[in-house]
């Protein structure tokens, strides 16, 4: 605001004509999308519609078939400090020598070379991050002993540790009960307002985050639709996307979608975990 420009007007992330194909199969085509600071966009669609592949493309881990993705005006490399990721995958390996605070510390400077020397500034920052997500109580417990909800709090603290501009959430609500789903939504909302982040939130169920969503990117059958929840989550819009009759019901503030064809696609990108051909399922092939 100080320089007279409205910073919200300059998009954080810009997709132009972004297209992803695997062989003959088109996941999504010609996606134009601007993500602004302080904005939460829900990425919805059936399993296998390419939601997580989109996140991998934004991270620069999956090349586009056509089009471009720019973050803060620059192309994306292989991974970025400017992007925080909240993955779905649990770190459940028993005996993994990692405590809550270590997980958050990795988010702070785990990508730097050398030894993780104990620095006072780093410790204070980690404590602050843990407090912000309400995880101070179990900061010293082994991560593998924590529940899904507790791990997800730590994941959010870890994703925010390097002070990112963009937050990507890849199905972080899976296998959480409703109160914990609401808790994750609240923490993401809090981070968005506090840090002025842009957020892309991949989920199969929009309801737990409906209150915090500004816009929806709905992907189905190689096509997509972008707009506010009220513009996109409608029977006519989704019926058009899927090419069959789909009914969207609004019931007590919840959105219920009925008639989405099952197993329309291969279920190959339900989570952001590396593909089988990739090289780091080192933690015991955790899928």
């Amino acid at each position: 605001m100080t320089d007279g420009n409205d910073p919200a007007a300059t998009p954080l992330l810009t997709l132009r004509g972004a297209t992803k194909r695997f062989g003959d199969r088109v996941l999504w085509q010609d996606v134009d999308l601007d993500v602004r600071r302080g904005e939460v966009i829900a990425v919805l669609g059936a399993n296998g519609s390419g939601k997580s592949t989109l996140l991998r493309a934004i991270l620069g881990l999956e090349p586009l078939s056509a089009g471009s993705i720019r973050l803060l005006g620059r192309g994306v490399g292989r991974g970025s400090r400017r992007i925080g990721l909240v993955p779905q995958q649990r770190l459940a390996d028993d005996g993994l020598p990692l405590r809550g605070r270590d997980l958050v510390r990795l988010g702070l400077d785990g990508d730097r070379w050398g030894l993780p020397l104990p620095r006072r500034a780093a410790r204070e920052r980690v404590d602050e991050l843990l407090a912000a997500v309400g995880a101070s109580r179990y900061a010293d417990a082994p991560v593998s002993r924590l529940s899904g909800g507790e791990q997800q709090r730590l994941r959010i603290a870890q994703a925010l540790a390097a002070d990112p501009d963009l937050l990507l959430c890849d199905e972080p609500l899976l296998s959480l009960d409703l109160p914990h789903q609401r808790m994750v939504a609240r923490l993401v909302d809090d981070a968005r307002t506090r840090l002025d982040l842009g957020v892309l939130f991949v989920t199969h169920d929009v309801n737990p985050i409906l209150d915090i969503v500004d816009r929806v990117l709905y992907i189905a059958g190689s096509r997509f639709r972008i707009g506010t929840p009220d513009e996109v989550l409608r029977s006519d819009v989704l019926s058009d996307l899927y090419g069959v009759q789909v009914d969207v019901l609004r019931l007590h503030g919840r959105v219920l979608v009925a008639g989405v064809p099952d197993h329309q696609h291969h279920d190959d990108d339900a989570v952001l975990a590396p593909r089988a051909a990739d090289d780091h399922a080192q933690t015991g092939g955790a899928r």
Binding site: L106, R112, W113, G114, A159, P274, D279
Partner: protein, 283 residues
């Protein structure tokens, strides 16, 4: 009966000339300190990356390399290095996932052992040398050998210290590490090279069959006691040093190779750690 027992015991442990023996063991003790440090450090990552079985496979191939080196007159050290490097890289490339890695290891291992046995049976030199590659040295390490061993250990330790943080990130949380720009693929290749080198030097002291006692057991024991990466690393190094140096000091008073002492100390430490962690439900 009791005569026989005491005779066996005196062969295993006899400290009568202990003070005269110690200076002769200087090299071996230095080697075991270096091995203890390297084994303790790299073991932590071996455990995190679930590669204990791969370590065993690499050591069998290292044995094969050493035997071929002995047969061809190229020397045990370069042979074991080449063997374990090749094995480490093959396992690293073929086995990115734990399941693939286990089968790749299981396929390579008997091949390596067979090749080693073939080379040894064709070799006409001293017999104690042959046996030592599988089950460990009797005692002395000569000067050229200690130099190469120390240089390799120093390189492995230095390499680990440089890549420590990103390797920890990539080993415990690969998806997030990759998203943050950690070069996980390159790191895993570098790690396999360092692991290959560490195995090759360990084979020369404890023998191919017993490498796990230095490269895996101490870290596994440490993980029973703590979940802090720093504390686990320090404990792992301490345990590995206790086993390797303790092993030499005990073996000095006997005609038995060092390795049974090392493996026994290592095993006892692990057993105690398990009991302790069981008693307090691991904090």
């Amino acid at each position: 009966m009791s005569d026989q027992l005491s005779q066996v015991l005196s062969e295993v442990v006899d400290f009568s000339d202990y003070t005269e023996l110690l200076p002769l063991l200087r090299n071996t003790i230095i080697a075991c300190v270096a091995l203890g440090v390297v084994g303790g450090l790299i073991g932590v990552f071996v455990m995190m990356r679930d590669m204990a079985f791969a370590v065993h496979g690499i050591s069998e191939l290292s044995f094969a390399g050493a035997s071929v080196g002995l047969l061809l007159g190229a020397g045990v050290v370069p042979g074991s290095l080449i063997g374990s490097m090749l094995a480490a890289l093959v396992i690293g490339v073929l086995g990115s996932r734990a399941r693939d890695r286990n089968s790749a290891t299981a396929v390579l291992m008997p091949f390596g052992l067979g090749l080693g046995i073939l080379s040894l049976s064709l070799y006409s030199g001293r017999a104690s040398n042959k046996f030592g590659l599988l089950t460990g040295q009797i005692v002395a390490i000569d000067n050229p050998q200690i130099t190469s061993l120390l240089v390799i250990c120093a390189l492995v330790a230095a390499g680990l210290l440089v890549i420590w943080r990103p390797l920890l990130f990539a080993s415990t949380d690969p998806v997030t590490a990759q998203a943050r720009g950690v070069p996980t693929r390159a790191l895993s290749v570098v790690f396999m090279v360092l692991l290959g080198a560490a195995v090759a030097v360990s084979v020369q002291i404890v023998g191919a069959l017993l490498v796990l006692s230095l490269l895996v057991t101490p870290a596994a024991a440490a993980m029973r006691l703590s979940a802090s990466p720093v504390r686990v690393t320090l404990l792992s190094v301490a345990f590995a040093l206790a086993a390797s140096v303790g092993g030499v000091l005990l073996a000095a008073g006997s005609s038995v190779p060092i390795s049974p002492f090392i493996t026994t100390i290592s095993f006892v430490i692990y057993g105690v750690c398990r009991l302790v962690s069981g008693a307090r439900g691991r904090v």
